[in-house]
């Protein structure tokens, strides 16, 4: 396996800026740029008086996360870091200022040391300006730490469900406590496990960012190639799905008669055909467990450049969370009508 090191790019050092320019040019009906904050994407008609401002963010290279989730009904702003690197505090703080409408701001991001440090520094700086800011770091990756240490877990594709719930809560004009509560509830209800088949190549380097042998896959690998639970020969799709589902079901506590929502997420170069083959087995397993699926999302929601691999995320729903997921939104990556 050789990662694809051929890319459509000009200057690798300019790739994030050029991506953002391209994004604004493509979706002027959804987002707007700010010359004061070139690393942020603002919702055109998101922020409004009395609404909690939702700022999400993280490293670039995970598109459509995070910029694709900005828009009415979801995030008010996304701050983009360099590829696989948290954004710096300055643009995060600026975004907080810009989306603040008197009801406070919520920062949301995947739980990585870098993101935590940068968003925390921004929150400290915001506090000095008397902006009320709270933070929720998504911790859905079951493979990244045992249950007893779940606050150490990484945030991966489950970001999608947790952001969606918080965005809906904020769009419904819940107050900051209410939005934080919705985010935390979704965060606690969401579990993800992934599997990687190949590495990806960072735009600035010519080499794959990790190595997986021919015919090898790694179960539980993180979206940046962080090592997972086990590495071994490529298994049939149903076996892979079983490994992911077993682990998720064992932890979730979801039982017969309950309802969940599913995300079968592609990491970059895994085909939709394969994702549906995986979904087929995941659904069989949930049917067997008499857990019903309220809504499934299948496709690329949180990627790792052109890595080959997939993840399964499950959010255990109650009426509240279901309503939040079904709440309308209009973003570049997701339209719920």
């Amino acid at each position: 396996m050789v990662a694809n090191s051929k890319k459509f790019m000009n200057d690798p050092d300019a790739i994030v800026r050029e991506m953002l320019e391209g994004f604004f040019g493509a979706h002027p009906d959804i987002v707007r740029p700010s010359s004061a904050n070139p690393r942020a994407v603002y919702a055109l008609d998101g922020p409004r008086e009395g609404k909690v401002g939702l700022v999400i963010g993280g490293g670039s290279g995970h598109e459509p996360a995070f910029i694709g989730y900005v828009g009415k009904g979801l995030a008010d702003a996304a701050v983009a870091g360099n590829v696989f690197a948290s954004p710096a505090p300055e643009p995060i703080l600026q975004a907080a200022r810009d989306v603040h409408r008197g009801a406070g701001v919520l920062f949301m991001y995947g739980n990585y040391a870098g993101d935590v440090m940068n968003f925390d520094m921004a929150a400290e700086m915001a506090a000095m300006e008397d902006l009320t800011v709270r933070s929720v770091a998504v911790i859905d990756d079951v493979a990244s730490a045992p249950r007893e240490r779940r606050t150490e877990r990484r945030g991966v594709a489950g970001d999608f469900f947790v952001f969606k719930a918080a965005g809906a809560a904020s769009d419904k004009m819940l107050d900051l406590d209410g939005v934080v509560a919705a985010a935390e509830k979704a965060n606690a209800a969401t579990l993800t496990m992934g599997v990687a088949m190949s590495a990806c190549t960072l735009p600035q380097s010519a080499a794959p960012n990790f190595h997986l042998g021919d015919g090898e896959m790694e179960i539980g690998m993180g979206v940046h190639g962080e090592p997972g639970i086990s590495r071994g020969p490529v298994l049939p799709a149903d076996k892979v799905a079983d490994e992911l589902v077993d682990r998720i079901l064992a932890e979730s506590g979801a039982g017969a008669g309950e309802q969940v929502s599913l995300l079968v997420n592609g990491l970059g170069s895994t085909t939709l055909m394969e994702l549906y083959v995986l979904h087929r087995r995941v659904r069989q397993r949930l049917d067997d467990a008499r857990i019903s699926i309220h809504r499934s999302f299948v496709g690329e929601y949180v990627t790792s450049l052109e890595m080959a691999g997939a993840s399964v995320s499950m959010i255990r729903l109650d009426d509240d969370l279901r309503r939040l997921l079904d709440h309308p939104c209009r973003t570049a990556a997701l339209v719920v009508a």
Partner: protein, 214 residues
């Protein structure tokens, strides 16, 4: 050899750091590729190249503290990531320790490094032995203090720090990771040097070389 380092010397040292990081970029990313996400060299190079841009002659007129603060903020904003907050905090704390000084002698340099280390620890909450840059910076600060105690000149203090950092970085190969992206790696990280520790050694060696220039 100089007995004290001026703001201009700090500017020169940071210049050299930027050069050396650029040279070592690929190696550092490769180290990160083994136990992290493969971007450490790129990240450091982005940051130090941004720093190079602001290292203008006018800056030499400012205080050491101001130079450090400006470098810290520039690095942070260019980088984000883990290294951004860590080094920004370290540089601001180091700079603060030199507040009011025209020039920094050996003891002041040791104080600079001790304050920087404390900044890294406060920001990242990593302990020695967690297989991070802390494992290069901790022995570096200790060695610097010992050298200063023995009356060493600034360049000698930095040299002692750099050598200790290099050894500290090498020693991370035998450690189990506890913090950062490689924390989930466990046993598989054994035998591999931590990229952040390796870049710490590069930075300190560049500073020592910069300080020793005629």
């Amino acid at each position: 050899m100089r007995t004290t380092l001026s703001a201009a010397d700090f500017v020169a040292m940071f210049h050299l750091v930027a050069d050396r990081i650029e040279e070592e970029k690929v190696r550092l990313s490769e180290l990160d590729g083994v136990i992290g996400d493969g971007d450490h060299g790129i990240t450091m190079a982005i940051g130090w190249n941004a720093v190079r841009e602001i290292l203008t002659p006018e800056l030499e007129e400012k205080s050491i503290t101001d130079v450090c603060n400006l470098v810290a903020r520039t690095f942070l904003n260019a980088v984000g990531a883990s290294s951004g907050p860590l080094y920004a905090t370290a540089l601001m704390r180091g700079g603060a320790a030199l507040k009011g000084r025209e020039g920094a002698d050996g003891a002041a340099l040791a104080g600079f490094l001790a304050a920087a280390l404390q900044g890294l620890r406060d920001r990242g909450k990593a302990e020695p032995g967690d297989k991070t840059m802390i494992d290069a910076w901790t022995p570096a600060a200790t060695a610097a203090a010992a050298a200063a105690e023995a009356g060493a000149l600034p360049a000698e203090v930095l040299r002692a720090a750099a050598e200790a950092a290099g050894k500290g970085a090498d020693a991370t190969a035998a450690m189990l990771p506890k913090k950062g992206r490689s924390a989930k790696l466990g046993e598989r990280a054994l035998g591999h040097v931590d990229p952040g520790a390796a870049s710490a050694a590069v930075i300190l060696a560049a500073m020592a070389d910069g300080a020793a220039r005629p």
